[in-house]
Symmetry: C2
Subunit: 390 residues, 2 copies
């Protein structure tokens, strides 16, 4: 509980240093910018001493104001609660470090309003570029960015109508990889669980890839509950099988898409209830005990990302107890800490590289590269754990 010293005494400016060193501001500026070749060793020493004595530190704001660039880039993140985001961030930070950029991290916390505000703020602070992991968002919100505005690169998802570089997972390949894995391991009923994807390209692609594989192999049908309103399957509507009749017995595989809006707990409850019915039905219909040496008759859940997987796992654990995985298998895109702990199979994204590449792209744009908008799709890696084996 020592008394605190008085407030900041006002920092030294370049003028102070110049006076202290008995010279002009220009020389100080030159010194700061490493133009040593244009300074006599003697003057240089005096400057060094003066800086030391005054504990001088150049004001980056003023600096940026003058030269028109402040080495600041914005990182607009939808959700730091998602391990994916933090991992991407690490790669991005490393790249910034290497390229002499300073990232301003903005956390929208899943609120579109926040996203808008931060974008505005970044603009007024004149960041040189923005890398954005947008939440489902209309192009208009990103207006100040991309095409006409400041350089931008999108991470994980692209935004309709917004021309900009983007880097993320090869979603099609990843979803196919996961689906094939489940099929290869004998599952004949697979539920793909995903958040509302009308607005989010990565979710769309994952779901579409899953659906296509399932249609090629057997049947697919959509869930009625979950999404708000019309759902996202366009004019084609629900296809293939109609009701939840069991088809596994005859050797055909059945795919099902369930939309879970994690932001709407009532909708989550409804979705999970539907899932429960399917799981119970599978348990009844299957004449083999749940610990049979095959996966036929055991339902597999394919979570489109870690938050969904966590939601599912928590629910299943609460409903079926610690041994829930003997009743249902879980596979998730994203590879959070707890996956290893619970033996859940995952598809790990190259998160670090995604972040790194994103910043590299942005840096090129900032330096004036004018090529067409690029897409960088990186492959995911399947990590097989006990959950999907038998």
């Amino acid at each position: 509980m020592n008394p605190m010293p008085p407030a900041t005494p006002r920092r030294a400016t370049i003028t102070d240093v110049a006076r202290e060193a008995g010279t002009g501001k220009t020389s100080i500026s030159r010194y700061l910018n490493g133009e040593m070749s244009a300074l006599s060793p003697e003057l240089r020493a005096r400057i060094e001493a003066a800086i030391e004595r005054l504990d001088y530190q150049p004001n980056q704001m003023a600096r940026g104001l003058k030269r028109g660039r402040n080495r600041l880039i914005g990182m607009l993140l939808a959700d730091l609660t998602n391990p994916y985001t933090v991992e991407v961030l690490q790669g991005a930070e490393a790249a910034c470090h290497a390229l002499g950029l300073m990232p301003l991290i903005c956390h929208a916390a899943n609120e579109v309003e926040m996203e808008r505000r931060y974008l505005q703020l970044l603009t007024t602070y004149r960041v040189e570029g923005v890398i954005v992991n947008a939440l489902g968002v209309r192009e208009e919100t990103l207006r100040p960015v991309g095409g006409g505005g400041i350089p931008a690169v999108l991470v994980d998802r692209s935004v309709e109508g917004l021309v900009a570089d983007m880097v993320g997972l090869d979603n099609r390949a990843a979803a196919e990889l996961g689906t094939r894995h489940l099929l290869d391991n004998g599952f004949d009923e697979i539920w793909f669980v995903v958040q509302p994807f009308e607005q989010v390209s990565s979710r769309q692609l994952r779901e579409a890839a899953f659906r296509e594989v399932m249609r090629a192999q057997g049947e697919w049908s959509a869930s009625a509950v979950g999404g708000r309103g019309e759902g996202g399957w366009g004019a084609s509507g629900v296809s293939g099988v109609s009701g939840p009749s069991r088809a596994g017995a005859n050797g055909r595989v059945r795919g099902h898409t369930l939309v879970l809006d994690l932001a709407d707990s009532a909708a989550v409850q409804r979705g999970l209830a539907e899932l429960d019915r399917a799981i119970d039905a599978a348990g009844d219909a299957s004449n083999a005990p749940t610990n049979a040496p095959t996966n036929a008759g055991r339902i597999a859940l394919f979570a489109a990302n870690a938050p969904v997987a966590l939601c599912l796992a928590l629910h299943l654990k609460a409903r079926y107890g610690a041994a829930w995985q003997s009743r249902v298998a879980l596979l998730s895109i994203d590879d959070p800490d707890w996956a290893e702990l619970t033996g859940v199979t995952t598809i790990r994204q190259p998160t670090y590289e995604i972040g790194y590449r994103a910043v590299e792209f942005l840096h090129e744009r900032i330096e004036g590269v004018q090529t067409s908008a690029r897409d960088c799709l990186l492959p995911g890696e399947l990590i097989v754990r006990a959950s999907t084996l038998r």
Copy 2:
């Protein structure tokens, strides 16, 4: 793959707006600062229109340069990988939002060098204050901050020799709460597992509180492995019991502190090996089967925070399989997602409030409050799960 439009055309300045509106810069400035009372409705309309037409956005850098305050505060975070950090961040962001501050998030990623660099950077950007969740760090690194420098408030840990406000968990109470819970549930051998704590006040306090409770109830001894070098028990050295002889049988409770340096995988291996020996010994010595209706003879692990708990859980799961919790109980300070999923008992920190209060404190300092350095200790909440019951 549309061709990208040409680079940014240069944003409008206040001068442009003044010209467009057919007036002087001053009026524009007044408008921007809400001094409407000093503007004729007619002029005001013209300004509004001009701003709209030019899509003008004031340059915060220049603004800050002029008035000497930029509403920026730095948030120096040791490890965004730790859920604790993200949760604190959310509270802090909410407070910033409410107080009109813009947080600059800096992620040191557990590297002291990074911490130093970011602090430097924040200083040169003239942030008005800093809230810092330091990694074990010498006071000198924080020199530019606190006392003589810019206002600062510490989160979670205090730094020796640095006078500044601090807000965090009531570590003593939390550790006592956890220890008592274990004792009350019949455990007679408890291992407190913690990262090296010579530099980290919160870890020190937790360990000390644990040790004191154990000494009052029975015995306590230190682990030989783990920490780098001398360990952290000061001149008192190891006390109480010497070797890992079983004492549970005679009704006495035994406490043990194990230091695990998560940054040093070899040390982690050694520490875990010692733990394994103890667990195996307990399993042998206990004449009751591991599923006996009592916890006597079952070892309890008390993790000082979530990263430690995760490390322990992963190891135990790998060694004893999915049913590891029947052999050993786990209690952790911090309440990560996976705790609920795996049924681990925790002590949840009031993270959101910690972040919120930290920013409030900082704001007061920025506004010139001069009281003595304050400590704000918030209570933790015990969340009992299956792991520590029987």
